[in-house]
Structures are given as structure tokens and as C-alpha cells.
Subunit: 161 residues, 2 copies
């Protein structure tokens, strides 16, 4: 059998997040070709990136950081076979939209000028933009410095757990 299963390392995860911050979500192949990330993500396909980003979006929805309302579920006697492994509505669509709004609002590469923080009632949005800018400023200073560190910086600041 071919693929045992590849768990995402923190470095890969950070690289993906930085890549999305730079190019925007949906630009998986672009992120993969970007020399800033191609090394760290060399073992991942564009589809892998897409799937991982989806997972991140779902878990970032709050379940991950503060999950405890789980044991409330009760189990009933099964009468018919479980049709599918969870049809469940764990789609996370809402979260995806939120993320897209944040990231796509201003792909980092174009956002070197002061961000047009038109309104953004959600303060987390403004904070996010600042953090990305700051981290990339740092990234460009020490040439050839550790990309993973930069990405990890972004990660820790934005998605702390």
C-alpha cells in the first residue's frame, strides 16, 4: 500500500497559513510554487493544501480552543445501519466565510500600504492584518532566515491554542 498517512507537522501547517496569508486561499498551486513555501510543503499536493486549510477553518471555529460541550450527547439504540460516516452538518461554512473575508480582504503582497480598514467592526480583523504585515516585515529582513519561524510566528499570534 502506498501512503501510510501523513500527519501535518507544525512547520507545514505554519507554511500553509503563511502561504494563504500571502496569496489568499484557493491559490494552492501558487502557494506550492512559491519558493518561500515550496521546500516546507514539498511533500504536499495542492489538494492536500486545500484539505488542510478546510480542516484548519473548521477547528478554528471555536470547537478546538474551547471544546468541552461534548459529553452532552446521548446515544440511542441504533435501529437501522448508520448510513454514512456522519452526514452531519459539520460543514463549517460560516467559518470559511469568515476566514475568507479576513484573508482575501487584502492579500498580503498587495497590502504593504496602510490597510484600508474601512470599517471592520470586528477588531480581530484589524489585529490579524497588522500581525501579518509585521511578520512579513520581519521575514524580509534577515535574508534566508527561517521561513518556518516566520510562519510559526504568524500562526502563534493568530491561531493560538
Amino acid at each position: 500500500m502506498g501512503a501510510p498517512k501523513q500527519r501535518w507537522t507544525p512547520e507545514e501547517e505554519a507554511a500553509l497559513k503563511a502561504g494563504v496569508a500571502k496569496h489568499g486561499p484557493g491559490k494552492w498551486r501558487t502557494i506550492l510554487r512559491d519558493s518561500d513555501f515550496s521546500e516546507l510543503l514539498r511533500l504536499r499536493s495542492n489538494v492536500d493544501l486545500k484539505d488542510k486549510w478546510r480542516n484548519l477553518s473548521v477547528t478554528a471555529g471555536g470547537y478546538g480552543s474551547r471544546e468541552k460541550a461534548r459529553m452532552a450527547l446521548k446515544k440511542g439504540r441504533r435501529v437501522v445501519p448508520k448510513l454514512t460516516a456522519e452526514p452531519m452538518d459539520v460543514d463549517g461554512k460560516d467559518m470559511d466565510i469568515a476566514h475568507d473575508a479576513i484573508i482575501e480582504a487584502e492579500p498580503l503582497a498587495m497590502a504593504l500600504e496602510p490597510l484600508a480598514i474601512e470599517e471592520s467592526p470586528d477588531k480581530s480583523v484589524a489585529r490579524l492584518d497588522d500581525l501579518i504585515l509585521e511578520s512579513y516585515r520581519k521575514a524580509n529582513e534577515p535574508s534566508g532566515s527561517n521561513k518556518a519561524a516566520v510562519a510559526a510566528y504568524i500562526e502563534d499570534q493568530i491561531w493560538p491554542l
Copy 2:
């Protein structure tokens, strides 16, 4: 207040084994959809099949109740990234390997590859036949139903003359 556990019957177990022999391990949904097994496994989900197969694999290892061959597995790293449209290796070379593996496989549940039984009615069928019977023999005893009849039924469904 609990979910009543539904123990696997010998018939279900035999159907699962036959299904794996026909489609290979990991094709749980395929096995479930196969009309040869859908009747017997109508109360089981694809995840149930997977879990049961795992249990069988552990048991087939021959470890006593006091042995535990727990998670000694380490995570290997994939060497090359999976391509978007990965070309599957279906040139028959793998079939030979799989065939050998099956013949030598003593813990039945260890490593089976899908076999194109319908396409290649050769002597490997007889080998498989023996394996299924053997594994079935291992499955239980006392219940009133006729085990041999069940096994014969399954075999007839899979390998009709």
C-alpha cells in the same frame, strides 16, 4: 443509558472476510454496496467494517490475552509528494505480489490486496477459497446455524462456476 453493543455474528464476520477477499481491505463502502454482502452486513456501517477488521487483525496475530502488541508503529515519511492525478500502478505486477502475499499471509487480516477475481479465474481462486474456509473455521462454533452452509453460500456468490 448506553448504546447497546451489537456483537458481530459469525455470518457477518464471514461476509466481511469474504468481502475483503474480493475487494481488498480498505474498500469498506465498496464491500457494503456489493450485493453479495449487503444483505448480511445490512446492520453495519463502513466504519463498523473497518473497526471489525482491525479487531480481527489483532486477534489473528495470535497474541494471548496477556500480550499486547500495541502501537509500536512509527510514522514513515513519504518521499515524494503525491501528484494531483496520481497514476495508479495497475499493471498486474502488483497483482502477482498480492497473490504471493495472500498465499503466505497467515494472519489472514494482515495484508490483502484486491484481486480481480472476476477477470482471472485461475488457481489462485482455489487458494483463496481455502483461506476463507480456514479463517471461517476460526470464527466460532456453537451457534445453531450451519456455518458450513454460510461459508458455502458466500463462496458460491463470489466464485460461481
